[in-house]
Amino acid sequence: MRDIVDFTKKMHLLYVEDNEDTIDATMLYLDEFFDAITVAKNGKEGVEKFQKHTIDMIISDINMPIMDGLEMAEQIKGVNPHIPIIFFSAHNEESFIQRANALNIEGYLYKPLHHHQFIALLEEIMHKMSDKK
């Protein structure tokens, strides 16, 4: 756990979500892991903020107005295929998962969030990234 927080604290997270209440509650939780979090309200804003800042990791909702999470991930992975992207969504429909799989996404978290799943996912990403180095 400490390893993970040591790892995440160094990162700049982009968090994309359209629902205010969810942003509110999720930020409380994410604050425990990340010191630098940039919030975007939809996929388009997500892409813009990704270009503006040096982002290390992305957590995003799928279903959003203007541009959904999948389209955003597609564009961002096009620029940086190695950036870890996690979807955090109530969606568990086959079609979404198939589309997401095609994008080589690091993982999904279903709402409501399970702490150990999130940890496991971060651990996986951490190992993957340290392998690359």
Partner: protein, 852 residues
């Protein structure tokens, strides 16, 4: 005593069963090497699998492969060189490899032989065995030139080696070393497996022809043999005793057999490889070695084609070998069915169809049972045919009650209510026990049910009908007809819509449908019961739902044609009589007019009763909808709450949980809990059951209904536009009105999702035109197909039955709007969508307008 009983019973079972005679050609004399087969025979395992196996020792100048190909033996034990036979085009199928590694080796006692390189110029004795490819490869890989070696005539004793007549003998690690150890002779063993040549040991095979013709028998032989092998390796001492006492053609000592057993067990169980496994890659690797040695002419062989494919019976280990043997012997199971019991069983184009036939099809797929069908003209005939031995089971019989002493009902595959139908005009009866002096018909042949119903309802006269009971009720000849609800609701929906209705359940518990199995056939009963167990609830539901949705072609009923012809003759006679007696004709016409008026009045009454029944049915469907809507509303706050609790836990573990953050968490969680609790209240108010007529605002009703489904709209990004000019009021039950709106809104949402519309939109517009209040709900879900437009308000009509459509939503909406609020409902085609218009006249029937 019990034990004795068991023995007697089991021997009876065994005696009663049919055994297939097969033979197994071994590749050597009896010894522990074949213990699995010996034990399978001695312990009655082959018998259990319906097999009578003859074991055959190898005789001089006998070739196992030819024995099997010439059909002298059914099965054979061979060595991996069988791959060469296969490569030469011999049609063999490999079943199992008893040993993952071969025990074959070379043994030297000469002090001068330390490594394989020392073999050069040495004498080698092949004994009774061949200098097999693995040995050759082992030597070649160490650059031993075999040409320099002297191959000596075979001898069957070790003395040649001991006496120094030869330098090396071909041996088995499981046999010869024991002798040498016993005599305390120092020796060195060279095993190919230690030098990277891991060849299979004994392999079990049969001819391709035999395995194609008798796949089930082959599967049983494999299963039984492997069970025998497991036994042999688990009970080595017992196995050695049996071989020593009954199969000791080589006069081996017990100690030698025991040594053999221990050595061979190591070769049979290698790492985590399952006993008997054949790996096709390994076969190809062995074949590659043959190739390198130049033993192969035909280079391309896919050994996958020569491996036995497990028969699907293996996937259902639930059937005992005896049951499998029973089925194999039986061929197909004959099923008698009533040709006129749609949708459970019926005949269409000469074929058996229906829900139960689908269940049998599923069993066919799962267990590999085969069914053939024997049609019966009616319910009773199916039982007669069963008694006459024309079939093994009847497709449908009631399990509770059953009083047919010649059959045993299987586990039930479906339960269904036994319901009463009457003419829609009949007043609704809360308690059917109150019915007196009525005649209710049931299907002819439901004898036991008949008696049972009579004890339940002593005041009702029950009769059994061979003819169409629905028709008799529709014509008013009898009060009611009773049958299982699947049958009834199908019939009503397709043929008697608006004419007949379901009055209620006649029997409180559900009637369980099952197969009726011939009393004497306990094995079949056990098999069917196990088969039914394998069908999941979901699978059953799918079958019953699918069938419910299928239009059944009605058989041409020649009695109807006969009736029509008779009818015409009667009319013809009447006309002649009428022509003669004109005066009487006049009065007759007056009478007819009178009855026509009556009919109209009846029609009006019919609608009310029908609606009562459907209201009841739709309540359940609404509950389902409600739960789905609550689930939607709760998803976000529930997620937020879970995030907060997890953050608290995190902070606690980090010791950073201070008062400030606790306050923050408390405030936020209260907010989310409040949201969730509000949802519950909204729904409770909305679905309150008490009925009260009062003035309510249409605007508020729209708002309340919309709030309930708002979350599910948002989740799908459906844009909703509300346009209300003024405030309008209706008198009646606001909750019912709200339900009517919900049905339309849900319907529109589902249509938008199913059609996957790009920019989903719903518009609700409330205004008045020329003294009418018009509530228009329009969507852009591409519109309703012309072919079904006329039917969307019909009860039980749904395009979403596979999801959770009940086919009652829009029907209920129409009933509520027209009957309770004296309004009208129309569907209007608009570009890219549909518009529902609800119209109420201002000023009368409880509709008013306030100018804001």
């Amino acid at each position: 005593m019990k034990v004795l009983m068991l023995i007697v019973l089991s021997s009876l079972v065994v005696n009663a069963q049919h055994l297939d005679k097969v033979s197994l050609q071994l590749k050597w004399k009896y010894q522990f090497q074949f213990a699995g087969f010996i034990m399978a025979k001695e312990k009655g395992i082959y018998k259990k699998y319906g097999l009578d196996v003859e074991l055959r020792e190898l005789e001089e100048s006998m070739d196992v492969v030819s024995e099997v190909l010439d059909k002298k033996s059914t099965y054979g034990v061979v060595q991996p060189s069988v791959l060469l036979d296969i490569a030469q085009g011999k049609e063999l199928i490999l079943l199992k490899s008893i040993y993952q590694l071969s025990p074959i080796c070379l043994i030297a006692i000469d002090q001068g032989i330390h490594t394989i390189e020392d073999f050069t110029n040495k004498k080698i004795m092949t004994g009774g065995r061949q200098l097999d490819a693995s040995l050759v490869s082992m030597m070649l890989s160490h650059k031993v030139d075999i040409q320099t070696m002297t191959l000596q005539k075979p001898s069957f004793t070790l003395s040649d080696l001991i006496e120094g007549k030869t330098d090396l003998v071909v041996a088995y690690t499981s046999n010869e070393p024991f002798e040498l150890k016993k005599r305390a002779i120092n020796h060195k063993i060279f095993s190919p497996k230690d030098y990277g040549f891991s060849f299979y040991g004994d392999m079990l095979m049969t001819s391709k022809e035999h395995s194609e013709q008798n796949p089930l028998e082959v599967q049983r032989f494999i299963d039984a043999s492997m069970e025998g092998w497991k036994y042999a390796f688990n009970y080595i001492n017992e196995s050695v005793d049996i071989i020593f006492n009954h199969y000791n053609t080589q006069n081996k000592t017990k100690a030698a057999l025991l040594y053999e057993a221990v050595e061979l067990k190591k070769l049979a169980y290698l790492k985590k490889i399952p006993l008997g496994d054949i790996n096709v890659q390994k076969l190809h690797r062995i074949y590659d070695v043959y190739n390198l040695l130049g033993l192969v002419k035909n280079h391309k062989v896919n050994f996958n084609d020569y491996l036995f494919k497990s028969h699907k019976i293996k996937k259902t280990p639930l059937l005992s070998p005896y049951e499998q043997a029973y089925l194999e012997q039986k061929g197909s199971i004959k099923v008698c069915y009533d040709k006129s019991f749609a949708p459970l069983t019926y005949t269409e184009k000469g074929k058996a169809k229906g829900m139960v036939v689908s269940i049998l099809d599923l069993i066919e797929q799962k267990i590999g049972l085969k069914f053939s069908y024997v049609e019966a003209n009616n319910w009773v005939e199916q039982y007669q045919k069963l008694q006459e031995g024309l079939c093994d089971i009847v497709a449908v019989t009631s399990k509770n009650p059953n009083h047919y002493d010649f059959l045993t009902p299987s586990t039930s595959y479906q339960s269904n209510s036994f319901v009463l139908i009457t003419d829609t005009d009949e007043p609704y009866q809360e308690d059917l026990k109150q019915l007196k002096n009525k005649t209710i018909a049931i299907k002819y042949g439901f004898h036991t049910l008949h008696k049972y119903l009579e004890t339940l309802y002593p005041n009702i006269k029950f009769i059994q009908l061979k003819e169409n009971g629905f028709e008799k009720v529709a014509r008013g000849e009898i009060y009611g007809y009773a049958s299982i609800s699947y049958h009834v609701s199908k019939k009503i929906a397709q043929e008697y819509r608006g004419e007949l209705k379901i009055m209620g359940k006649l029997i409180n518990h559900k009637i369980e449908g099952s197969f009726g199995v011939n009393k004497n056939d306990d094995t079949l009963l056990a098999i069917l019961n196990q088969a039914i167990e394998t069908i999941s609830i979901e699978e059953k539901e799918k079958i019953f739902k699918d069938w419910y949705d299928i239009e059944i072609d009605r058989e041409i009923d020649y009695t109807i044609i006969l009736h029509i012809i008779i009818g015409f003759i009667i009319i013809f006679i009447i006309i002649i009589i009428a022509y003669i007696k004109q005066k009487r004709l006049k009065s007759k016409i007056e009478n007819m007019n009178h009855s026509l008026q009556e009919k109209v009045a009846q029609e009006v009454a019919k609608n009310r009763a029908k609606e009562m029944m459907l209201l009841k049915q739709s309540r359940l469907a609404q509950m389902g909808e409600m739960i789905a809507m609550i689930a939607h509303q709760w998803r976000q706050p529930l997620n937020n709450l879970s995030l907060i609790t997890q953050t608290i836990t995190l902070k606690y573990h980090k010791d950073s949980l201070d008062e400030h953050s606790m306050e923050l968490f408390d405030k936020k969680s209260s907010k989310y809990i409040q949201q969730m609790s509000q949802t519950i209240d909204d729904f409770r108010n909305f679905f309150k059951t008490e009925y009260r007529d009062e003035w309510f605002s249409i605007n508020d009703a729209i708002k309340e209904s919309f709030e309930l489904i708002e979350a599910s709209y948002q989740a799908q990004y459906i844009r909703a536009i509300l346009k209300c000019e003024n405030r309008y009021y209706l008198k009646g039950n606001s909750s019912q009105f709200g339900q009517a709106l919900l049905n339309i809104l849900n319907n529109a949402r589902d249509a938008l999702i199913i059609n996957n519309v790009e920019k989903k939109m719903i518009q609700i517009e409330l205004r008045d035109i020329d003294g009418y209040v018009v509530l228009a709900i329009s969507d852009n879900a591409l519109g309703i197909k012309k072919s079904i437009k006329d039917r969307v308000f019909d009860p039980y009509f749904s395009t979403k039955l596979d999801k959770n459509g009940t086919g009652l939503g829009l029907y209920m909406t129409k009933a509520i709007i027209e009957d309770h609020f004296h309004g009208e409902i129309h569907i209007v085609d608009i570009p890219h969508g549909t518009k529902f218009e609800l119209i109420f006249k201002i000023g009368q029937d409880g509709c008013r307008k306030d100018i804001v």
